[in-house]
């Protein structure tokens, strides 16, 4: 099962390597890891999607907490969250078929960000399932290239049981 964990970490060199290394050393399975600065330039936020049962996720949480440069951890398991991925995808498409892809873009509330003679580049943001569906919809045309950020997430406001972990 997938779990989303969010970690507030010191924005220092080596912290990402430490977190990633810990996951490898303890044989935890990461599905995705997204990192970026926060409003406080001294802090970064990591959103980590791990695969495992509750016991594994509990260990992940504790082992993360043990890293000195990890300041705060939220485990979104069992909580309602807003989770989003961002994807850029380059789809092979001949000019005469452009309307088809534009219809898809419209349907998915995506955005065409670049266009070439044989390709269009589309930006898609949203929940993981939406991203997956868009990929499947594009597959028949031929996907030249794609890149994803990995999930970022925040807990919804004021839900029962929404207490922070740690």
């Amino acid at each position: 099962m997938k779990h989303i964990i969010s970690a507030l970490v010191q924005n220092k060199p080596g912290v990402l390597a430490h977190v990633a290394g810990m996951f490898a050393a303890r044989a935890f399975n990461i599905d995705s890891l997204a990192v970026g600065r926060t409003d406080d330039p001294a802090m970064s936020r990591m959103t980590i999607v791990v695969v495992g049962d509750d016991k594994v996720v509990e260990q992940v949480r504790k082992q993360l907490a043990k890293i000195i440069d990890v300041v705060k951890i939220q485990d979104f398991s069992g909580r309602e969250v807003i989770a989003r991925d961002l994807m850029l995808i380059c789809v092979h498409i001949s000019p005469e078929k452009r309307p088809e892809i534009l219809a898809l873009v419209e349907m998915f509330k995506a955005k065409v960000v670049d266009i070439g003679q044989k390709f269009v580049m589309v930006e898609v943001a949203g929940p993981e399932e939406k991203i997956e569906s868009f990929i499947e919809a594009c597959r028949p045309y031929g996907i030249k290239n794609m890149v994803r950020t990995g999930t970022v997430a925040m807990g919804r406001f004021d839900r029962p049981g929404a207490a922070d972990n740690q």
């Binding site: 010191q10 290394g21 260990q59 504790k62 000195i68 440069d69 990890v70 300041v71």
Partner: protein, 578 residues
């Protein structure tokens, strides 16, 4: 702590504080942190620092190899309860520390390692003697950091000591580029350390403690299972008070040995793979297991699924990540063992538990640790018993890793905390001698005996000259069976006696010791054992005694890999010797 300039300066306003070089700041901060002894080895990029150490009021001990220096800092820390400090140069100096750092990490020993680094602008250029030290040591340190601005240097060192010794202790490494050692900046006043991501919980949750006490009061068949955490928390006295008030039998892990006086009747001695039958049976039959500062290591639990199958488990530990890591815990209590055991003792009542203690007494009667005392050969267990008797259980005992280590755990009666120093988690052969030197440096008046294996000793015996140079009169007793004994035992039991590469042609250790400036004694007959030990104890110099013991003796009992704790091999051998 000693009075010193930097401490006095903490009363001054920051602007009055002197401007110093990075190297001077390092020395002043080490003194401020109470450092009296440093182990280390010089080299190119730490020359500015070593220049300032030249006339610093700190004893400096140079090992023959940086690994030895790190084990010395480790032995020093375990014997004294203080933070051990080791300093090396960049590249090879730093890399040679890794085994020692990993060893300290696994056994939760507070060490601060200071390593030099190439100039900041050369980092990443494959410069001479450059290694990515923080990268290499990240998974084997509690924390590490590279200082890239001299303004951060002093606070980084203070944080390193704070992190190393608080919470679950461990090694911290600070990497200092050589340009930072010569850069100048103003000293900073001492202030309270506040790390956003590091707030070790000291006090246990009182409600959890109450629940634990209720479980203890209810239990008919309890066992306390004690690990190294009780030693590092200096909580042996609190443990004794609890066990005696509530009337609880106590078993210890390898690292827990010394935390409970083994001469007392409640002691079940060591549990686990080579633990006593009575400890392992008691754990398997208990209705309540009270784990204190222990981490349910695989060498302790045997097959996890069938470990203490009927027991409710209380786990007292300062490290939340140890709880429910290997074994599901019913009542976790996170915090300092000293605090929690004190609070727990207030809540527990005495309970007789006659049936349980009778059963334990019966196991103790039927399955004591045995060896063939009638043998005319020198039995390793006999040597260890004789050492114990001659030292009256008062010595600081250090070991290497292997059979001799297990026999020392089994046949030496451990009575005091910080008097048994051994490499538990990492199982580092070669740990014994350098760790003994570190312990002797910490406790100059104590009798420090390294009970070592021939192969373990062979790995770091060059450090005999360190002991000689610094007049640290460690005693080394080599349990010399001419094999890597534990490897040979496994090959005998599980690989059809094919002794593949487990034999070394040893030198005459006594002659080597003499050549290195120590006293060397060889013992080949059982009748000479007592005299040799007496002679060794009278020696004022470092002394190596080479006991040529029975070659193919095995450590019993033994819980083979994958077996449950009560499924011990070797009990029939004990019975045949009764």
């Amino acid at each position: 702590m000693k009075k010193n300039p930097s401490q006095d300066s903490s009363h001054q306003s920051p602007s009055d504080l002197p401007i110093k070089t990075g190297a001077e700041i390092i020395v002043a901060t080490l003194i401020e942190q109470g450092v009296e002894i440093i182990f280390g080895y010089p080299g190119g990029v730490v020359l500015p620092l070593f220049d300032k150490l030249y006339d610093a009021p700190i004893r400096f001990i140079i090992p023959r190899h940086e690994q030895g220096g790190c084990h010395m800092a480790d032995g020093y820390a375990r014997a004294s309860g203080k933070v051990g400090v080791v300093i090396t140069t960049s590249g090879p100096g730093a890399c040679n520390l890794t085994t020692g750092i990993a060893n300290a990490m696994m056994d939760s020993v507070p060490i601060v390692a200071l390593t030099g680094q190439v100039r900041t602008e050369l980092i990443g250029n494959d410069a001479f003697q450059e290694a990515d030290t923080t990268g290499v040591t990240r998974p084997i340190t509690k924390h590490n950091m590279i200082v890239k601005d001299v303004k951060d240097l002093q606070q980084s060192i203070r944080e390193a000591f704070y992190i190393a010794k608080t919470g679950r202790p461990g090694p911290v490494l600070i990497d200092v580029p050589v340009d930072i050692e010569v850069a100048k900046c103003q000293m900073q006043p001492l202030k309270e350390i506040n790390l956003a991501g590091y707030k070790p919980q000291q006090k246990g949750h009182l409600r959890q403690i109450k629940m634990a006490a209720e479980a203890i009061n209810k239990s008919d068949k309890p066992v306390v299972y004690v690990g190294g955490g009780v030693v590092s928390a200096d909580a042996a006295e609190e443990l004794r008070a609890l066990a005696q008030k509530a009337n609880l039998p106590v078993t210890m892990t390898l690292l827990g040995l010394g935390s409970y006086d083994q001469r007392r009747p409640e002691s079940l001695d060591m549990l686990g793979m080579h633990g006593t039958a009575y400890a392992n049976f008691a754990v398997q039959e208990c209705d309540l297991l009270i784990a204190v500062g222990a981490r349910f290591d695989d060498r302790v639990t045997g097959k996890v699924k069938t470990f203490a199958p009927d027991a409710k488990i209380i786990h007292i530990d300062i490290d939340p990540s140890s709880i429910s890591k290997n074994v599901a815990v019913d009542i976790p209590v996170v915090g300092d063992a000293k605090f929690i055991l004190t609070e727990l003792a207030k809540e527990v009542r005495h309970k007789e538990r006659k049936e349980w203690f009778d059963k334990i007494a019966d196991w103790k009667n039927r399955f004591p640790l045995r060896y063939d005392t009638k043998s005319t050969n020198i039995k390793p267990q006999y040597v260890i018993e004789q050492i114990c008797e001659a030292a009256k259980s008062e010595a600081i005992i250090v070991t290497g890793v292997g059979q001799h280590q297990m026999w020392t755990a089994q046949f030496y009666k451990h009575t005091k905390p910080r008097h048994f120093i051994t490499s538990g988690g990492l199982g580092t052969m070669g740990f014994g001698l350098p760790a003994a030197i570190g312990a002797q440096a910490a406790k100059p008046d104590a009798l420090v005996i390294d009970i070592d294996g021939d192969s373990s000793f062979n790995m770091t015996l060059t450090e005999v000259s360190t002991a000689v140079q610094y007049e640290l009169p460690v005693k080394v007793c080599i349990i010399n069976n001419g094999y890597m004994g534990m490897v040979r035992q496994w090959q005998e039991l599980f690989y059809n006696k094919r002794y593949s590469k487990s034999y070394l042609k040893n030198p005459e250790f006594a002659a080597v010791a003499q050549a290195l400036g120590a006293v060397g004694i060889t013992v080949e007959k059982k009748s000479e054992v007592k005299n040799a030990i007496a002679k060794m104890l009278n020696e004022k110099k470092p002394c190596v005694v080479d006991f040529k013991v029975e070659r193919e003796e095995n450590v019993w009992p033994m819980v083979a890999t994958g077996k449950s704790l009560h499924e011990m091999d070797g009990l029939d051998i004990f019975e045949s010797m009764a």
